[in-house]
């Protein structure tokens, strides 16, 4: 799932057009431009928020906030990084904040620990049976494994979770992660190593 990001650091023609159009209409991006941006990045934003938050509804909510924020702030965007990097950063910040908010609620005892974690078994058995090349038993095992991994991911501390997702799910390099999170390379290494260690410990039986 490596997106090649952010090898596109130089603004491509589309983004330049976006900026040009945006500067012409200094307060709000044209609807067509925004729609283009949405179509291009909606999958990335939704997937990232889903992986970080582990809940479809929450992910949808935060993704809306992300695009709303993009819509409002696009005229402040100066092209110092690529549009994708900028949106990526907004997504991570928003999703991380939402995670912290949930954690605060949990600490206060307002909600139970697993209340919103178990809602996400959105993929049905029939979905997994449709996978080509596997027997139903294998699909079932894979499905179980996937759910277990997602469950364990959600139980990681937010910072470690984000770092692991960016590295192993999104396939970003350490330097890119450090740039996006605006932390040192050492911090990124530490977060990824600890996150993986914790995941490995939790998935002891699943990984074999």
């Amino acid at each position: 799932m490596n997106t090649g990001f952010p090898d596109e650091l130089a603004l491509n023609r589309y983004e330049e057009n976006c900026l040009a159009m945006d500067q012409e209409h200094s307060h709000a991006p044209a609807a067509e431009v925004f729609e283009e941006i949405f179509n291009r990045y909606q999958s990335m934003v939704f997937n990232l928020t889903f992986r970080i938050l582990g809940d479809r509804e929450e992910a949808l909510d935060v993704s809306q906030e992300v695009f709303f924020s993009v819509f409002r702030k696009l005229h402040h965007f100066r092209g110092e990084s690529s549009l994708k990097t900028w949106i990526y950063r907004i997504t991570i910040n928003r999703a991380s904040n939402r995670c912290r908010w949930w954690n605060r609620l949990r600490r206060r005892g307002t909600i139970s620990l697993d209340e919103h974690l178990s809602k996400d078994d959105s993929r049905t058995l029939s979905d997994s049976l449709e996978s080509a090349g596997n027997t139903p038993e294998q699909d079932l095992v894979l499905q179980e494994q996937r759910l277990e991994i997602e469950r364990s991911l959600r139980r990681l501390p937010v910072q470690q979770r984000v770092a692991v997702i960016m590295r192993d799910v999104e396939g970003l390099s350490y330097d890119e992660i450090a740039g996006l999170l605006q932390v040192s390379l050492g911090t990124v290494k530490s977060r990824i190593a600890r996150g993986r260690e914790e995941l490995k410990r939790r998935l002891n039986g699943t990984l074999g």
């Binding site: 799932m1 709000a28 925004f34 729609e35 949405f38 909606q42 999958s43 939704f46 997937n47 889903f50 992986r51 479809r56 992910a59 949808l60 993704s63 809306q64 695009f67 709303f68 819509f71 409002r72 959105s122 494994q145 996937r146 991994i149 997602e150 991911l153 692991v164 997702i165 590295r167 192993d168 799910v169 396939g171 350490y174 290494k189 990824i192 190593a193 993986r196 260690e197 995941l199 490995k200 998935l203 990984l207 074999g208």
Partner: protein
């Protein structure tokens, strides 16, 4: 290299992020240590499992939700723009001397117009007042429209002349001193008494007793008070600057008359 140290470096070793010398050391250790190799294998499995997580699809209505949020925000921003424009204008008015005085003048005029409008809206119920005593309960009845012109003439025409009648200084004034003098002039009873009458004061300032609500035990006291009311100088009641007839209920209580 010891196992604890190698296990701490496995994650970076897997991602080829270790320095060359350190990576060589880890590599040598892994060749000879099956436990650490197994841990590296598990770490690889974990990474592969994470990498192979399939992407999820956003629902079809995702764009509609975002659009809805934006259109709501646009409405709010319209209000905010209006509010900030008003604040900007108000700030300019307050800080520009000429505009400040003009605005105050306009405000004062608007206030006057407002009160005139309010009083005009409340007036019509009195326009039909024909001058005679109202019915029981004191509510004036509105006259038919053909009498309206006559009433208007009555209301706007004559009262000004009536108000011109000055109250003479020789007219007795109802005040504590007058009442004290009156009390001294009567010397018949020595107990508390009460008189309550309905008096009409017309637009010329003349008063007469219309009805007696409560009689005193001594009838002569009533006639004294009636004389007092009729001979006193009354300022006519006014309605929106015009003199009008007024009905008063006058009660004199706790009258103690010395012998």
């Amino acid at each position: 290299m010891r196992c604890e140290k190698v296990l701490g470096h496995l994650s970076l070793f897997l991602d080829e992020m270790l320095e060359v010398e350190l990576a060589d050391g880890v590599s040598q250790h892994l060749r000879s240590c099956s436990d650490c190799s197994r841990e590296l294998g598990r770490l690889k499995k974990l990474r592969n499992a994470l990498t192979s997580l399939e992407p999820v699809e956003a629902p079809d209505y995702f764009y509609d939700l975002v659009n809805l949020k934006i259109s709501r925000a646009r409405q709010e921003s319209w209000r905010k723009n209006l509010q900030s424009a008003f604040e900007c204008w108000w700030s300019r008015v307050r800080t520009t001397e000429g505009m400040w005085y003009v605005t105050r003048l306009m405000g004062a005029m608007a206030t006057i117009v407002f009160f005139i409008a309010i009083s005009s809206a409340m007036n019509p119920i009195y326009l039909g007042l024909s001058g005679q005593l109202p019915g029981r309960g004191g509510v004036a009845l509105i006259q038919p429209s053909q009498q309206l012109a006559k009433n208007l003439q009555k209301v706007f025409g004559s009262p000004l002349a009536a108000q011109k009648k000055p109250i003479r200084s020789s007219d007795p004034k109802i005040n504590d001193q007058y009442l004290a003098n009156l009390a001294q002039s009567v010397s018949r009873t020595a107990h508390d008494d009460t008189v309550s009458v309905v008096a009409v004061v017309d637009r010329l300032g003349a008063a007469k007793v219309q009805d007696v609500l409560e009689y005193p035990s001594d009838d002569s006291l009533l006639s004294d008070f009636t004389d007092m009311i009729m001979t006193a100088g009354w300022r006519p009641a006014s309605q929106n600057g015009r003199a009008v007839d007024a009905w008063l209920v006058l009660t004199f209580s706790k009258i103690y008359v010395y012998n």
